[in-house]
Every structure is written in C-alpha cells, then in structure tokens.
Symmetry: C2
Subunit: 528 residues, 2 copies
Amino acid sequence: MSEVQADLMDAPSRRARSGGRAARVALREAAPTADRKPVWAGLPGGQFNPLQQSDLLAIHRAALDLLGTVGIGEATPELIQLAATHGCRLNAHGRLTFPPSLVEDLLTKAAREYVIYSRDPAHADLHVGGNRVHYATSGEAVSVLDIEARRYRPSKLVDVYDTARVVDALPNIHQYGQMVVPTEIVDLVQADINVAYAILAGTTKPMEHALTAADALPPILELYGMIAGSVDKFRERPFVSFGGCPIVSPLRFAADSLDVLIATAREGLICDIAVAPQAGATAPTYLAGALVQVVAETLACLCVVNMVRPGTPMSFAAWPFSVDLRTGAFSGGSAEVAVMMAAIAQIGRFYDVPTTVASSMTDAKMPDAQMGYEKGITALAAGLAGANRVLESAGMMASLMGVSFEALVIDNDMLGMAQRVIRGIEVTEETLSVEAIKAAVLGEGHYLGSSDTLKSMETEFVYPAQADRNSAAVWAAAGSLTMEEKARQVAKGLLDGHFPNPISAALDAQIRDRFPILLTPDQMRPRG
Amino acid sequence: MSEVQADLMDAPSRRARSGGRAARVALREAAPTADRKPVWAGLPGGQFNPLQQSDLLAIHRAALDLLGTVGIGEATPELIQLAATHGCRLNAHGRLTFPPSLVEDLLTKAAREYVIYSRDPAHADLHVGGNRVHYATSGEAVSVLDIEARRYRPSKLVDVYDTARVVDALPNIHQYGQMVVPTEIVDLVQADINVAYAILAGTTKPMEHALTAADALPPILELYGMIAGSVDKFRERPFVSFGGCPIVSPLRFAADSLDVLIATAREGLICDIAVAPQAGATAPTYLAGALVQVVAETLACLCVVNMVRPGTPMSFAAWPFSVDLRTGAFSGGSAEVAVMMAAIAQIGRFYDVPTTVASSMTDAKMPDAQMGYEKGITALAAGLAGANRVLESAGMMASLMGVSFEALVIDNDMLGMAQRVIRGIEVTEETLSVEAIKAAVLGEGHYLGSSDTLKSMETEFVYPAQADRNSAAVWAAAGSLTMEEKARQVAKGLLDGHFPNPISAALDAQIRDRFPILLTPDQMRPRG
C-alpha cells in the first residue's frame, strides 16, 4: 500500500477515532435547517464560459443576418399580420424576416427574469434569471423502463402522477416538468387537463407541462384557478410554466405550437418553449453554426412573445441537440450537446434573458455507468455555465424516449453532487482557517471533532443519500449492491408509499365534478 | 409523442435518408488521421474558474503565513542543513519554517513546464504546463475487482502489466501511471524494478511510477538507460515521471518519501509527487482552509526541489481529498474533491507551475451509475479548470483501494466525452455556417450529406467506442446489455489479445540477465 493510502486509511481509524465519533454524534443531533444546507435551488453558476466575448458577438451578428434574410418559414396569418405592424416582411420565398434593429429593440423589452412558485413553502420558488441555477425534470417521453425485464413499455397517465410523486421526494430536483405523455389518451385537450391534474395531485413543487392545443388553455387556467383559489391568484403567483415547441428546424414555425405560444403570451403566462435542432441533421455539423441557427430560431420566438405582449416571461430555450452521424441516431448525452448547452447559458447571460437548457440526458437504456457519466458531465457543464433552469435533468433515458424511476433516484444524488461543485468555495477569514490549522498542527494533529468541523460539516459537505462510500468489506457485507440495485429498492419504496396528496378531498371532488379526471382513487393510494 | 421528439426521430429517417447514408459512407471511408481527431492530448483548459482573483491572493498569503510560522514538521537532517543555507529556520517546536520571501523567490525559479515523452510516435508526448490538459492513470491500489464475483482480490505484479496493456489500447488515456502495487513482492527495491519493467513491457505511452525507496533510483535509472539506449538518452527524452508522497498531513514531512524526492530532484528527473490531505480529517473541513493547507504543503515540496536544483521539473500536485464525516470514510468521488481539485488547477496557473490533480475517482465498488457520474463530474471539473495532468483518472474504484479493468474501458469513453467538452467551440467565419444555413433552408431542408457535414463530421463529433446510442429496439435485439456487460467483453478481449510487446527479445534478455525480473514469458503471451 502506498503512503497516500496508508495516510488516507489511518487518519480516522488510528489517530482520531474519538474525534470522529464526536463529529458523527454532532451530525446526527444537528437537525438540518433551511439555512444550513450544502446545496439549494438557485446556486450561482457562470464560472464556466466556453465562448470568448468576440465569439458571442459573432454568433449574435450571424443570427441577426439569418433573421433578416432567410427569416422563418411557415408563419401563420395571425403572426404575419402582427409582425407586419412591427416592420417584419415576407421575403421572396414567403418566409417571415425580422429586421436586426427590431430584434435588438425587442431584446431590450424582454423579461429579465420570472418566478415559478411552489405551492408549499417546503419547496423553493424558482427565481429564474441572472446566474441562478435550478434543475428540473421534463421530456414528455413515450415509454417507461421496466428495469427487471430490461424493456420499455408505453407510458400512461398514472406514470405522470407517479413520476411527480417520486420527484416530490427528491430534494435536488427543483421543479417537476412533465416527464411522460399519457399514450392512452387520444383527445389532446383531455390529455392536457389530465396531465395538469396528475402533476398537481403528485407534487406541490413548481411545475411545467406542455400544452398540445391552444384550446386547452381556457380549461387549464380554470383548473389552476381552482387550485390557487382564483385565476387572479394563480396569475399573481403562477406555479406552472407552459412548454411548447414552436419551431421545426431549420428555421420554420410549427403552426399548432406557435398558436399555443401566442395564446400563452397573450395571457402573460410563462412561455417555457424548447427549440431543438440537431447538429448534423437539422442544424449544421459545425457546433458554432448549430448555435447560430438555434439562436436565430429562439430569437424569433422571443420576438413573437414580445410583439404579442412586451415583457412576457419567456425562457430563452435554445436546445441544440446532435445526431450520431454513424447511424443518424439522435444523441442527447453527447459531449457536443454538453458544450453547446453550456454555450447557450452563456449566450443567455449575454442577452440577459432567462435560459433553459436540456442537459443531464443520456443515450443509455439502463441506469448504468454510461448513464452516470453522460448525465454527470452534461449536468455539470450546464450548471457551471449558469443555465437558469436545466430541464430533462433527471430520470430521462434512451435519448429522451423513455423514463426510469430508478434513474430519478440516482440522478437526485448526481444533481446534489453537481450542485455542490457549482456552489464553489467561499473564501473568508474564517474559512481560510489559518488559526485552526496552526492549532491542529501544534495540538491534536487532526481536525475530526474540532469546533470548526462541527460547525461546518453540514454546510460544507453534501452527503449523498444512496451513493456507496463504505469500504469494500462493509459493502460486501451489505450484499455487494450496485447503484442500480439500491435505486430499485428506493424507487419501489417511494412508489408504494410516498403520496403527498396536496389536493384536499373537497377540492378534489369539485375538480372531478368539473373535469373528466381519469386518474382513479385506487391509483392514488399507498400500495403493497 | 411531443413535437420535439417527432422532429428528433423523423429528421434522419423521413426527410434525409439518402443524405444520412452518404454521410455514413463518407465516415467509414475517411480513415482517421492525426490531424483529424475530435480530441487529443493537451487540449486547452481553464474556461472554468471557481475562485476569484482575490481568493487566489488570500489563499496564497495564508499559505505563506503557515510556512513562515508553524512550518513543516519532521524535516530530515539533510533537508534542515540544505534549507538553512537558504534562510529557513527551525522554530521552537523543531519545525522547519520557510520565510515568505524565500518561497516567492523559489517560485520564480520553478520549472514552468516539463515533457514526458512517449517511446512511440503513435502516442503523444505530454507537454505539461500552461493550460494544456492530459488524463493519466495512477493510484497504486492494493486490489483488483473480480467483477463476476463482486469482490476485490489482492493485486499482483501481473496486474501492473495487464493494466498497462489495456491502457495502451485506450486512446483517451494519455499516460500510464502505476495503478496497482505488486502485493506479493516484499523487497521494496525489487518491487520498484519489477513495476518499472512491467510498465515498460506493457505500453510505450508516457509512464509514471512511484519509487518506494531512494535506493531503487540507481538501478531504475540503469534500466531506463537500457531501454533508451543510454542513461544520457533517457535524460534527454525522459518517458517517466517519478511519483512519491513526501508529506503526511497536516504539515509534516514523510522521511522516506522526502529522501526519494531529494534524490530525484538531484538527478533533475521529473518529480511527480502527491500531497493528499483529507478535508474534515487531516485538513480543515472548510474547503478554503483545506486549500490553504495543501497549498502550503505543496509549496514546501516545491521549495525543497528548487533548493536542491533550481528549475527541477515538479508537478504542483496539491490533492485535497475529503472524508465523509458521517463515517470517517475517505471519499475520492465527492463534490468537494471535484471543486477543490478544480481550484488547485486554477492556483497552479496563478503560480504558473505545472499541475497534477487527482480526479475522475469514485467511491463506488462496481462500474455502475455512481461510478459514472462521480467520475464524469470530477473529470470534467478538473479538465475545464485546466489541470495539466489529471491523475487517478481511469480504472480506479472503491475510493482508490481497487482497480477495475472494465472501468478502464468505460472511462476511456467518458474521458473522450469530457475532452470534447474541454475542447470547446471554434468560432470562425466557416464554422458560423451562415451561408450553409441559408443554402439548407432554401434547399434540402437538412444538413445530412452536405459538404460541410462531410468535411467536419470527424473533427466536430466524438464517437464513443462502447456507449450505446441505438434505439431501444436495436439495443434489445443486441441483447439489452448494460455498459458494464459490454465493458466486460471488451476488457476480456484486450486482456486476452492486446500484447504490444515494446521490448525486443534481445533487449529483454539483457534486462533479465541484469535484473531479477519476475514477470514470466507465460504471462506475456496471448491467452485463450
């Protein structure tokens, strides 16, 4: 054994056993409190800057060039009419072009931040903007991993509810965004209403879901009003951001989703879009070019909402994905996605608009080592770059096609680790510890049980819930489990037992009276 | 299915099948060449800076305070005598103190960079310094994972050779540093010689190993001279860095390793030390305080080598680890280690000295999701921060107590991903792709098979060797394997078949004639 290892192993066991015990007792006795956490929602990112200032300007100018020349195709008549009053024109190809001066003018009017509220003070409100970093689920996958069978089954409405309940119990995931679609519901408005209800019933965390039809907005607002007490109260403290995909890359509008975006903006609600071209297929292979295109596409959406209603809260949600050009397969867990999403966070700070990115994804099918490193690398890159909300950041598998309950449990530990790195190192006279070091060197010869250790051990260190840090012997005695096997147990426990039930019985009856709610009381009760 | 997903899935299959095929054909036909790689040794880091400039100055001043007052304990008579001629004094506690002006003076004389050469142009030389990032193994673990039995067995000499062979085949690991100790060899000098031989026989990559005894240096130099042609030729193009752990934290010298350090410095060889206190146990719990202590300890080593021989190449190898204060267990894969090691990279650039850090470690026992994210997060943080050599970066398991061949295979893919993120995004008129975007928008409507795609698909994208990016259906048809299961197959293939045999038979006979080499010819032949 090397001297490092001898030193590593001997320090706690040989030199300082009593100090260690004191420290452990202190840790057990000190109840965690809100102001004594090692990580929290809204940690400051932005320490990682992949682009130079000159790069930011070059990308901005190139995006303005595109918007002013080729513009965006397939604008709806409603948008063309509105945009014309702001100086936009259709070019010879019938595509809607945006003058550079208009884009820059609307950027000055754009919302700098927005708040997505929690329905319970136990969870944090999300103050989205600046350099504050939050992690959220999202994804609208179509399948769920059956981990024992190693296969993906179609997702159902109950999976929306179940994933919301599991996320409710995982502290390092700050928002529940819709993870799966109810594949069994055909009617779009009915699906939207039932998804909203399933999330509301599963968690009080800030939430997100995509509207598939503009027609769903009035009933959905009514539902949120019932939860909040009134629609006005909901507008005062909105607890939902509204997803959508108004762009088909390269540089075309998607009519239905554009309608939803305009309707949401008109209501002043939080427009939580995603613009998702794929470098190599629907965006250039050069990463810089993919950024130019996605920035142009996202600026077009920003122009739309600010023409509809200046200052409308909108996520600058440029999500440059990539394909694997060996096969044409979409890749969510690639290095290229990681660095492009980090660049987007930086571009969002350049524009001073709130960003969402999609990171912490994986192309793996099982919650294995590939999943671990693909998610770890992409989650850290996005957070360090200061993305305000990192979506798709937990539970997503298989290039966004599936969800795993086990992955949610694992990702919660991973996100806690990433968040601690993002938090960084506070340097003060106290934390520099010069006098404490002198005292230790001339005294005990270690720091276990020292007053500074007892004071800071809860706030300096993240203690993972599931990750194994035992010796190989202790690990073997506990059954030699992998992270996946531990996560199965934890996920099953949460699925069977964690029912926050945030909707009162009386209100639930009113909601079910008013809307065709499909989630059954049986699905909402503890199991096993 | 959401519109994002429809867009993601349809683009290659529906809109652009022929383009995708052309691209794939082009990729297969274009043989990779040295100047057309997506990642390489020495990528530029430093885009991530966890500390403010004022933090760097505060940590530096606090470290100087420690060195000038409590100093370092247990200096050897040889060092005390040498240091006295430079103005160092023993304080009232018999501890060697270093005047701040001396430390700053010796910092001006320190080597700014060094080169560890490859013995074969197929592998890169490591130009260590500046903001150039390399990844290396190291660790000197005492056990090896038997993955089928889920247990760790004691490591042997043949494991040094076998890990070197496997690393030889993995392109994203740039240096082989000694991963395991031969637990069956009792004599230290014999162990050192046999470890050196086992590495030399296993790979031509730049190498590192720790000397456990200063007495081993003369015969080891003779061995390297035989490999290089002469000792002078070895000195001209050294292909080895010499590890050691000259500090026992907090702030004491380790006599044997200090002797090795002084002997290595006297020879002008690359001093590749590791200073490894643990925050919470042998260093303060406050991360800033742990940095202050480890910087003081490492500066003391830098003073030693530069007093022995100014400009001696030395790694500024401050390795702040942490313990889990719930149990006292050492943690290598923690968030606190990730952010502290990143800070060390930044501090090394502040001093303009070559850094090594220990990152990409894990506390997991199996190559599972925990391993994946702990390694991914720590490997990326260290590289983005610009650490010149990231040691312990592949294959290490169980808080540095064990090695896994399967993990080496997985980590190679992980490191390729991390390196692609570190490389960043090149912004030029060509890569901004404005004209290419206009052409695609008004033409094909996609980029598959475009001239820019064919030109850049090999250089912009990293294609992982093992990571799965297939659809769930293709993955299921191929056996629904996890990354661990795939890595087992690949590791077994390399262990059975990859024998680079870089020592000629004639030279091997001479070496075996001169030294008591224990690795047998049987162990050095293809198996199975």
